[in-house]
Protein backbone atom coordinates (compact mmCIF):
# COMPACT_ATOMS: atom_id res chain seq x y z
CA UNK A 1 0.00 0.00 0.00
CA UNK A 2 1.31 3.38 -0.91
CA UNK A 3 1.52 5.81 1.91
CA UNK A 4 0.90 9.49 2.09
CA UNK A 5 4.49 10.48 2.74
CA UNK A 6 5.45 9.01 -0.56
CA UNK A 7 3.13 11.35 -2.42
CA UNK A 8 5.09 13.54 -4.70
CA UNK A 9 3.97 16.18 -7.08
CA UNK A 10 4.67 15.77 -10.69
CA UNK A 11 3.15 16.47 -14.00
CA UNK A 12 3.47 14.20 -16.95
CA UNK A 13 2.05 14.76 -20.36
CA UNK A 14 2.52 14.02 -23.98
CA UNK A 15 3.07 17.59 -25.07
CA UNK A 16 4.57 19.47 -22.22
CA UNK A 17 6.42 17.86 -19.43
CA UNK A 18 6.56 20.33 -16.64
CA UNK A 19 8.15 19.79 -13.31
CA UNK A 20 5.86 20.74 -10.54
CA UNK A 21 8.54 22.87 -8.95
CA UNK A 22 7.60 25.48 -11.53
CA UNK A 23 4.05 25.54 -10.19
CA UNK A 24 4.68 25.75 -6.52
CA UNK A 25 4.23 29.06 -4.89
CA UNK A 26 3.05 30.57 -8.16
CA UNK A 27 -0.69 30.75 -7.92
CA UNK A 28 -0.58 33.70 -10.30
CA UNK A 29 0.47 31.31 -13.06
CA UNK A 30 -1.58 31.60 -16.27
CA UNK A 31 -4.56 29.25 -16.27
CA UNK A 32 -4.40 26.29 -18.63
CA UNK A 33 -7.17 26.73 -21.21
CA UNK A 34 -8.74 23.46 -22.23
CA UNK A 35 -11.95 21.75 -23.32
CA UNK A 36 -12.17 19.29 -20.50
CA UNK A 37 -10.73 18.53 -17.10
CA UNK A 38 -11.21 15.04 -15.72
CA UNK A 39 -10.94 14.76 -11.96
CA UNK A 40 -9.64 11.31 -11.12
CA UNK A 41 -7.26 9.02 -13.01
CA UNK A 42 -8.90 5.74 -12.03
CA UNK A 43 -10.04 3.32 -14.73
CA UNK A 44 -13.19 5.33 -15.47
CA UNK A 45 -11.35 8.66 -15.66
CA UNK A 46 -8.82 7.06 -17.98
CA UNK A 47 -11.46 5.58 -20.25
CA UNK A 48 -13.18 8.97 -20.35
CA UNK A 49 -10.00 10.24 -22.06
CA UNK A 50 -10.66 7.65 -24.76
CA UNK A 51 -14.33 8.40 -25.30
CA UNK A 52 -13.74 12.16 -25.26
CA UNK A 53 -10.78 11.72 -27.59
CA UNK A 54 -12.96 9.97 -30.16
CA UNK A 55 -15.14 13.08 -30.30
CA UNK A 56 -12.11 15.40 -30.54
CA UNK A 57 -12.11 16.59 -26.95
CA UNK A 58 -8.68 16.79 -25.37
CA UNK A 59 -8.50 16.39 -21.67
CA UNK A 60 -6.36 17.28 -18.70
CA UNK A 61 -6.50 14.69 -15.92
CA UNK A 62 -5.89 15.57 -12.27
CA UNK A 63 -5.35 13.01 -9.53
CA UNK A 64 -4.22 13.22 -5.93
CA UNK A 65 -2.17 10.04 -6.25
CA UNK A 66 1.28 10.16 -7.79
CA UNK A 67 0.34 7.54 -10.38
CA UNK A 68 -2.66 6.78 -12.58
CA UNK A 69 -5.04 3.93 -11.73
CA UNK A 70 -6.97 5.22 -8.72
CA UNK A 71 -8.20 2.43 -6.46
CA UNK A 72 -6.90 -0.13 -8.97
CA UNK A 73 -3.39 1.17 -8.41
CA UNK A 74 -3.71 2.06 -4.76
CA UNK A 75 -5.90 -0.62 -3.20
CA UNK A 76 -5.54 -3.69 -5.38
CA UNK A 77 -2.70 -3.45 -7.90
CA UNK A 78 -1.95 -7.17 -7.57
CA UNK A 79 -5.44 -8.44 -6.99
CA UNK A 80 -7.48 -10.05 -9.75
CA UNK A 81 -10.55 -8.44 -11.31
CA UNK A 82 -12.86 -10.92 -13.05
CA UNK A 83 -15.61 -8.74 -14.48
CA UNK A 84 -13.99 -6.66 -17.18
CA UNK A 85 -15.63 -7.72 -20.44
CA UNK A 86 -13.16 -9.54 -22.67
CA UNK A 87 -10.52 -9.91 -19.96
CA UNK A 88 -11.31 -13.08 -17.99
CA UNK A 89 -8.84 -12.00 -15.33
CA UNK A 90 -6.76 -8.87 -14.98
CA UNK A 91 -5.01 -7.22 -12.03
CA UNK A 92 -5.62 -3.60 -11.06
CA UNK A 93 -2.14 -2.70 -12.24
CA UNK A 94 -2.51 -4.48 -15.56
CA UNK A 95 -5.87 -2.87 -16.24
CA UNK A 96 -4.33 0.54 -15.55
CA UNK A 97 -1.44 -0.17 -17.90
CA UNK A 98 -3.77 -1.38 -20.64
CA UNK A 99 -5.97 1.70 -20.31
CA UNK A 100 -2.91 3.97 -20.44
CA UNK A 101 -1.90 2.21 -23.64
CA UNK A 102 -5.40 2.51 -25.07
CA UNK A 103 -5.65 6.27 -24.43
CA UNK A 104 -2.13 7.08 -25.61
CA UNK A 105 -3.25 8.43 -29.01
CA UNK A 106 -5.31 11.13 -27.34
CA UNK A 107 -2.43 12.88 -25.61
CA UNK A 108 -4.07 13.72 -22.33
CA UNK A 109 -2.00 15.74 -19.90
CA UNK A 110 -1.73 14.32 -16.40
CA UNK A 111 -1.39 16.42 -13.27
CA UNK A 112 -0.53 13.88 -10.62
CA UNK A 113 -0.18 14.43 -6.90
CA UNK A 114 -2.62 17.33 -7.13
CA UNK A 115 -6.09 17.72 -5.74
CA UNK A 116 -8.72 19.95 -7.34
CA UNK A 117 -9.83 22.23 -4.53
CA UNK A 118 -11.89 24.94 -6.18
CA UNK A 119 -14.48 24.90 -8.94
CA UNK A 120 -16.48 27.93 -10.01
CA UNK A 121 -18.48 28.86 -13.05
CA UNK A 122 -17.41 32.05 -14.80
CA UNK A 123 -19.65 34.57 -16.53
CA UNK A 124 -18.74 33.13 -19.95
CA UNK A 125 -20.05 29.70 -18.92
CA UNK A 126 -16.64 28.12 -18.51
CA UNK A 127 -15.31 26.73 -15.26
CA UNK A 128 -12.30 27.85 -13.29
CA UNK A 129 -10.60 25.00 -11.46
CA UNK A 130 -7.77 25.36 -9.00
CA UNK A 131 -5.60 22.66 -7.50
CA UNK A 132 -3.81 22.58 -4.17
CA UNK A 133 -0.56 22.97 -6.09
CA UNK A 134 -1.72 26.24 -7.61
CA UNK A 135 -2.46 24.90 -11.08
CA UNK A 136 -5.52 26.58 -12.59
CA UNK A 137 -7.66 25.51 -15.53
CA UNK A 138 -10.23 27.33 -17.64
CA UNK A 139 -12.39 24.61 -19.09
CA UNK A 140 -15.65 24.12 -20.95
CA UNK A 141 -16.62 20.88 -19.26
CA UNK A 142 -15.67 19.07 -16.07
CA UNK A 143 -15.84 15.33 -15.60
CA UNK A 144 -15.80 14.15 -12.01
CA UNK A 145 -14.53 10.58 -12.00
CA UNK A 146 -13.32 10.69 -8.44
CA UNK A 147 -14.43 7.24 -7.27
CA UNK A 148 -14.70 7.18 -3.50
CA UNK A 149 -13.20 10.66 -3.27
CA UNK A 150 -9.60 11.69 -2.89
CA UNK A 151 -7.09 9.57 -1.08
CA UNK A 152 -6.02 11.29 2.12
CA UNK A 153 -3.70 10.13 4.88
CA UNK A 154 -5.37 8.10 7.58
CA UNK A 155 -5.70 9.93 10.86
CA UNK A 156 -5.11 7.67 13.86
CA UNK A 157 -8.30 7.83 15.96
CA UNK A 158 -6.41 9.19 18.99
CA UNK A 159 -8.29 11.53 21.24
CA UNK A 160 -7.63 15.19 20.53
CA UNK A 161 -5.26 14.57 17.60
CA UNK A 162 -6.94 17.28 15.48
CA UNK A 163 -5.64 19.99 17.81
CA UNK A 164 -2.05 18.91 17.15
CA UNK A 165 -2.30 18.64 13.38
CA UNK A 166 -0.22 21.15 11.50
CA UNK A 167 1.70 22.13 14.64
CA UNK A 168 3.24 18.97 15.96
CA UNK A 169 1.46 16.13 14.14
CA UNK A 170 2.01 15.80 10.39
CA UNK A 171 0.96 13.20 7.84
CA UNK A 172 3.51 14.16 5.23
CA UNK A 173 6.85 15.92 5.16
CA UNK A 174 6.80 19.07 3.08
CA UNK A 175 10.13 20.52 4.19
CA UNK A 176 12.64 18.30 5.92
CA UNK A 177 14.07 21.27 7.77
CA UNK A 178 10.87 21.72 9.74
CA UNK A 179 11.98 18.66 11.69
CA UNK A 180 15.51 19.82 12.46
CA UNK A 181 16.30 19.81 16.16
CA UNK A 182 13.02 18.10 17.09
CA UNK A 183 12.32 15.06 19.22
CA UNK A 184 10.61 13.10 16.54
CA UNK A 185 8.38 10.05 16.75
CA UNK A 186 7.62 8.26 13.50
CA UNK A 187 4.94 5.56 13.54
CA UNK A 188 4.52 2.89 10.89
CA UNK A 189 6.30 0.04 9.17
CA UNK A 190 6.10 0.77 5.47
CA UNK A 191 8.34 2.64 3.07
CA UNK A 192 7.13 6.10 4.10
CA UNK A 193 7.88 5.48 7.76
CA UNK A 194 11.29 3.97 7.03
CA UNK A 195 12.32 6.46 4.35
CA UNK A 196 11.49 9.40 6.56
CA UNK A 197 13.22 7.75 9.50
CA UNK A 198 16.41 7.51 7.46
CA UNK A 199 16.10 10.98 5.97
CA UNK A 200 15.18 12.83 9.13
CA UNK A 201 17.44 11.00 11.58
CA UNK A 202 20.46 13.21 10.80
CA UNK A 203 18.36 16.37 11.34
CA UNK A 204 16.27 15.49 14.39
CA UNK A 205 17.78 15.85 17.81
CA UNK A 206 16.25 12.52 18.74
CA UNK A 207 14.25 10.04 16.72
CA UNK A 208 12.12 7.06 17.67
CA UNK A 209 10.47 4.70 15.22
CA UNK A 210 7.42 2.94 16.62
CA UNK A 211 5.77 0.00 14.91
CA UNK A 212 3.28 -2.57 16.17
CA UNK A 213 5.49 -5.57 15.35
CA UNK A 214 9.15 -6.22 14.68
CA UNK A 215 8.49 -6.91 11.02
CA UNK A 216 8.42 -4.24 8.36
CA UNK A 217 6.75 -3.95 4.99
CA UNK A 218 9.37 -1.44 3.87
CA UNK A 219 12.20 -2.30 1.48
CA UNK A 220 14.66 -4.66 3.22
CA UNK A 221 17.67 -2.37 2.68
CA UNK A 222 15.88 0.51 4.43
CA UNK A 223 15.08 -1.77 7.34
CA UNK A 224 18.73 -2.84 7.51
CA UNK A 225 19.93 0.75 7.55
CA UNK A 226 17.42 1.61 10.27
CA UNK A 227 18.59 -1.34 12.37
CA UNK A 228 22.20 -0.22 11.92
CA UNK A 229 21.29 3.26 13.22
CA UNK A 230 19.60 1.67 16.21
CA UNK A 231 22.70 -0.46 16.87
CA UNK A 232 24.88 2.68 16.74
CA UNK A 233 22.59 4.37 19.25
CA UNK A 234 21.66 7.07 16.73
CA UNK A 235 17.93 6.38 17.11
CA UNK A 236 15.61 4.01 18.89
CA UNK A 237 13.09 1.45 17.72
CA UNK A 238 10.06 0.62 19.85
CA UNK A 239 7.56 -2.13 19.22
CA UNK A 240 4.11 -1.00 20.27
CA UNK A 241 1.27 1.40 19.56
CA UNK A 242 0.40 4.95 20.59
CA UNK A 243 -2.58 5.13 22.95
CA UNK A 244 -2.56 8.74 24.21
CA UNK A 245 -1.15 12.09 23.18
CA UNK A 246 0.09 14.53 25.82
CA UNK A 247 0.59 18.23 25.34
CA UNK A 248 -1.21 21.55 25.28
CA UNK A 249 -2.37 24.07 22.67
CA UNK A 250 -1.41 21.81 19.82
CA UNK A 251 2.13 21.33 21.08
CA UNK A 252 2.96 17.74 21.82
CA UNK A 253 5.39 16.89 24.58
CA UNK A 254 4.94 13.14 24.99
CA UNK A 255 2.85 10.14 24.02
CA UNK A 256 1.85 7.05 25.92
CA UNK A 257 2.67 3.88 24.07
CA UNK A 258 1.55 0.35 24.80
CA UNK A 259 4.15 -2.34 24.34
CA UNK A 260 4.21 -6.02 25.27
CA UNK A 261 5.72 -4.96 28.60
CA UNK A 262 2.95 -2.50 29.36
CA UNK A 263 2.43 1.21 29.00
CA UNK A 264 5.22 3.75 28.91
CA UNK A 265 5.57 7.45 28.34
CA UNK A 266 7.76 8.59 25.49
CA UNK A 267 8.90 12.21 25.23
CA UNK A 268 8.57 13.73 21.76
CA UNK A 269 7.48 17.02 20.25
CA UNK A 270 6.76 15.96 16.67
CA UNK A 271 4.75 12.98 15.49
CA UNK A 272 4.60 11.57 11.97
CA UNK A 273 2.01 8.77 11.75
CA UNK A 274 2.07 6.74 8.52
CA UNK A 275 -1.00 4.53 8.35
CA UNK A 276 -1.71 4.63 4.65
CA UNK A 277 -4.51 6.38 2.85
CA UNK A 278 -8.26 6.45 2.99
CA UNK A 279 -10.85 7.97 0.67
CA UNK A 280 -12.67 11.16 1.54
CA UNK A 281 -15.07 13.13 -0.65
CA UNK A 282 -13.03 16.24 0.13
CA UNK A 283 -13.57 19.61 -1.58
CA UNK A 284 -16.15 18.19 -4.05
CA UNK A 285 -18.68 18.65 -1.24
CA UNK A 286 -18.22 22.42 -1.46
CA UNK A 287 -18.88 22.90 -5.16
CA UNK A 288 -22.60 23.49 -4.86
CA UNK A 289 -23.58 20.21 -6.51
CA UNK A 290 -26.55 18.23 -5.28
CA UNK A 291 -25.30 15.32 -3.19
CA UNK A 292 -26.97 12.20 -1.85
CA UNK A 293 -25.01 10.51 0.91
CA UNK A 294 -21.70 11.72 -0.50
CA UNK A 295 -22.59 10.62 -4.02
CA UNK A 296 -23.47 12.88 -6.94
CA UNK A 297 -26.89 12.25 -8.50
CA UNK A 298 -26.85 12.25 -12.31
CA UNK A 299 -29.29 11.51 -15.09
CA UNK A 300 -28.77 8.26 -17.00
CA UNK A 301 -28.77 9.78 -20.45
CA UNK A 302 -25.83 12.15 -20.14
CA UNK A 303 -24.50 11.47 -16.64
CA UNK A 304 -24.66 15.18 -15.97
CA UNK A 305 -24.90 16.61 -12.46
CA UNK A 306 -27.26 19.31 -11.23
CA UNK A 307 -24.87 21.78 -12.94
CA UNK A 308 -24.83 21.87 -16.72
CA UNK A 309 -21.39 21.03 -18.06
CA UNK A 310 -20.31 19.13 -14.96
CA UNK A 311 -20.53 15.38 -15.36
CA UNK A 312 -20.04 12.64 -12.79
CA UNK A 313 -19.13 9.10 -13.84
CA UNK A 314 -18.00 5.95 -12.07
CA UNK A 315 -18.31 5.15 -8.38
CA UNK A 316 -18.88 8.79 -7.38
CA UNK A 317 -22.29 9.09 -9.05
CA UNK A 318 -25.68 7.65 -8.18
CA UNK A 319 -28.88 6.99 -10.11
CA UNK A 320 -31.67 4.43 -9.85
CA UNK A 321 -30.14 0.99 -10.34
CA UNK A 322 -26.54 2.18 -10.06
CA UNK A 323 -23.93 -0.55 -9.68
CA UNK A 324 -20.43 0.44 -8.62
CA UNK A 325 -18.70 -1.54 -11.33
CA UNK A 326 -15.83 -0.48 -13.56
CA UNK A 327 -17.84 -1.58 -16.58
CA UNK A 328 -20.74 0.70 -15.60
CA UNK A 329 -18.28 3.58 -15.42
CA UNK A 330 -17.03 2.80 -18.93
CA UNK A 331 -20.59 2.96 -20.28
CA UNK A 332 -21.19 6.21 -18.43
CA UNK A 333 -18.02 7.69 -19.97
CA UNK A 334 -19.25 6.92 -23.48
CA UNK A 335 -22.61 8.60 -22.99
CA UNK A 336 -21.10 11.55 -21.14
CA UNK A 337 -18.79 12.23 -24.10
CA UNK A 338 -21.77 12.62 -26.44
CA UNK A 339 -23.16 15.46 -24.34
CA UNK A 340 -19.75 16.99 -23.63
CA UNK A 341 -19.32 17.26 -27.40
CA UNK A 342 -22.41 19.49 -27.57
CA UNK A 343 -20.86 21.92 -25.10
CA UNK A 344 -17.39 21.93 -26.61
CA UNK A 345 -18.51 22.06 -30.25
CA UNK A 346 -22.00 23.58 -30.18
CA UNK A 347 -21.98 24.09 -33.96
CA UNK A 348 -20.90 20.59 -34.94
CA UNK A 349 -23.18 17.65 -35.44
CA UNK A 350 -21.87 14.42 -34.03
CA UNK A 351 -22.03 11.43 -36.31
CA UNK A 352 -22.13 8.10 -34.53
CA UNK A 353 -19.34 5.87 -35.81
CA UNK A 354 -17.61 2.58 -35.04
CA UNK A 355 -13.87 2.30 -34.45
CA UNK A 356 -13.93 -0.90 -36.52
CA UNK A 357 -15.06 0.80 -39.70
CA UNK A 358 -14.63 4.56 -39.40
CA UNK A 359 -11.53 5.86 -41.10
CA UNK A 360 -11.74 9.15 -39.23
CA UNK A 361 -11.86 7.39 -35.86
CA UNK A 362 -8.98 5.16 -36.91
CA UNK A 363 -6.99 8.24 -37.83
CA UNK A 364 -7.56 9.63 -34.33
CA UNK A 365 -6.47 6.31 -32.89
CA UNK A 366 -3.33 6.48 -34.99
CA UNK A 367 -3.95 3.10 -36.63
CA UNK A 368 -4.46 4.48 -40.11
Amino acid sequence: MMQAGALSRQMVGSEEVQQDATNQGRPEMEPIETDCVIIGAGPVGLFAVFELGLVDIKAHVVDILDKPGGQCAELYPDKPIYDIPGLPVVTGQELTERLMEQIKPFGATFHLGERVDGLQRLADGRFLLTTDAGTTFLTKVVVIAAGGGSFTPKRPPLEGIEAYEGKSVFYAVRRMHDFAGTDLLIVGGGDSALDWTLNLQPLASSLTLLHRRDEFRAAPHSVERMRALVAEGAMQLKIGQVTTLHGADGWLDAVTIRTKEGEERLACNRLLPFFGLTMKLGPIADWGLNLEENLIPVDTEKFETSEKGIFAIGDINTYPGKLKLILSGFHEAALMAQQAHKYVYPDRKLLFQYTTSSSSLQKKLGVR
Binding site: L75, Y76, K79, K154, G188, T243, F275
Partner: protein, 106 residues
Protein backbone atom coordinates in the same frame (compact mmCIF):
# COMPACT_ATOMS: atom_id res chain seq x y z
CA UNK B 1 -26.76 -21.92 8.81
CA UNK B 2 -23.88 -20.76 10.98
CA UNK B 3 -24.51 -18.28 13.80
CA UNK B 4 -21.92 -15.60 14.52
CA UNK B 5 -22.18 -13.18 17.43
CA UNK B 6 -20.79 -9.68 17.09
CA UNK B 7 -20.07 -7.92 20.37
CA UNK B 8 -19.93 -4.12 20.31
CA UNK B 9 -17.54 -2.15 22.57
CA UNK B 10 -20.54 -1.28 24.80
CA UNK B 11 -21.23 -5.00 25.30
CA UNK B 12 -24.34 -5.19 23.12
CA UNK B 13 -24.60 -8.31 21.01
CA UNK B 14 -25.99 -9.14 17.60
CA UNK B 15 -26.35 -12.72 16.35
CA UNK B 16 -25.96 -12.95 12.61
CA UNK B 17 -26.67 -15.77 10.15
CA UNK B 18 -23.81 -16.76 7.91
CA UNK B 19 -23.45 -19.31 5.13
CA UNK B 20 -20.33 -21.41 4.70
CA UNK B 21 -18.20 -19.95 1.92
CA UNK B 22 -18.88 -16.31 2.69
CA UNK B 23 -16.54 -14.29 4.88
CA UNK B 24 -17.24 -13.08 8.40
CA UNK B 25 -17.09 -9.53 6.99
CA UNK B 26 -19.76 -10.34 4.39
CA UNK B 27 -22.01 -11.79 7.08
CA UNK B 28 -21.55 -8.61 9.12
CA UNK B 29 -22.27 -6.33 6.14
CA UNK B 30 -25.42 -8.27 5.21
CA UNK B 31 -26.71 -7.84 8.74
CA UNK B 32 -25.50 -4.22 8.90
CA UNK B 33 -23.33 -4.75 11.98
CA UNK B 34 -22.10 -1.32 13.11
CA UNK B 35 -18.34 -0.80 13.13
CA UNK B 36 -17.55 -3.15 10.24
CA UNK B 37 -16.82 -0.70 7.45
CA UNK B 38 -14.98 -2.84 4.89
CA UNK B 39 -14.15 0.18 2.78
CA UNK B 40 -12.30 -1.86 0.14
CA UNK B 41 -15.05 -4.43 -0.22
CA UNK B 42 -13.07 -7.42 1.00
CA UNK B 43 -9.81 -7.14 -0.92
CA UNK B 44 -7.67 -7.16 2.23
CA UNK B 45 -6.65 -3.64 1.30
CA UNK B 46 -7.99 -1.29 3.95
CA UNK B 47 -8.15 -2.82 7.47
CA UNK B 48 -11.57 -1.30 8.21
CA UNK B 49 -13.17 -4.68 8.99
CA UNK B 50 -10.82 -5.24 11.93
CA UNK B 51 -12.22 -7.49 14.69
CA UNK B 52 -10.97 -9.36 17.75
CA UNK B 53 -11.41 -13.13 17.78
CA UNK B 54 -10.93 -14.91 21.10
CA UNK B 55 -7.86 -17.11 21.07
CA UNK B 56 -9.96 -20.23 21.74
CA UNK B 57 -11.30 -19.89 18.18
CA UNK B 58 -7.87 -19.62 16.61
CA UNK B 59 -7.77 -23.35 15.77
CA UNK B 60 -10.94 -23.06 13.76
CA UNK B 61 -10.40 -19.66 12.10
CA UNK B 62 -6.77 -20.36 11.23
CA UNK B 63 -3.90 -17.91 11.48
CA UNK B 64 -3.72 -14.61 9.58
CA UNK B 65 -1.71 -14.75 6.36
CA UNK B 66 1.34 -12.57 5.75
CA UNK B 67 -0.79 -10.24 3.65
CA UNK B 68 -3.33 -9.91 6.45
CA UNK B 69 -0.56 -9.23 9.02
CA UNK B 70 0.78 -6.52 6.73
CA UNK B 71 -2.65 -4.98 6.41
CA UNK B 72 -3.20 -5.14 10.18
CA UNK B 73 -0.41 -2.53 10.37
CA UNK B 74 -3.08 -0.11 9.15
CA UNK B 75 -5.58 -0.97 11.87
CA UNK B 76 -5.98 0.79 15.19
CA UNK B 77 -5.42 -0.87 18.58
CA UNK B 78 -4.11 -4.13 17.14
CA UNK B 79 -3.90 -7.00 19.63
CA UNK B 80 -2.99 -10.66 19.69
CA UNK B 81 -6.61 -11.50 18.82
CA UNK B 82 -6.77 -9.06 15.89
CA UNK B 83 -8.08 -10.32 12.57
CA UNK B 84 -9.51 -8.78 9.42
CA UNK B 85 -13.00 -10.22 9.16
CA UNK B 86 -12.83 -10.27 5.35
CA UNK B 87 -10.10 -12.89 5.63
CA UNK B 88 -12.02 -15.32 7.82
CA UNK B 89 -13.97 -17.79 5.71
CA UNK B 90 -17.15 -19.09 7.31
CA UNK B 91 -17.24 -22.86 7.76
CA UNK B 92 -19.65 -25.12 9.67
CA UNK B 93 -16.97 -25.28 12.37
CA UNK B 94 -17.41 -21.59 13.08
CA UNK B 95 -21.00 -22.00 14.31
CA UNK B 96 -21.18 -20.06 17.57
CA UNK B 97 -18.17 -17.85 16.78
CA UNK B 98 -17.94 -14.69 18.87
CA UNK B 99 -16.10 -11.69 17.45
CA UNK B 100 -15.58 -8.34 19.11
CA UNK B 101 -15.87 -5.12 17.16
CA UNK B 102 -13.11 -2.66 18.09
CA UNK B 103 -13.90 0.71 19.57
CA UNK B 104 -12.60 2.50 16.50
CA UNK B 105 -11.77 1.65 12.93
CA UNK B 106 -9.35 4.02 11.26
Amino acid sequence: MVKITFVQPDGSQQVVDATPGMTVMEAAKLAVVPGIEAECGGACACATCHVYVDSEWRDKTGEPSQMEEDMLDFAFDVREESRLSCQIKVTEDLDGLVVKVPEKQF
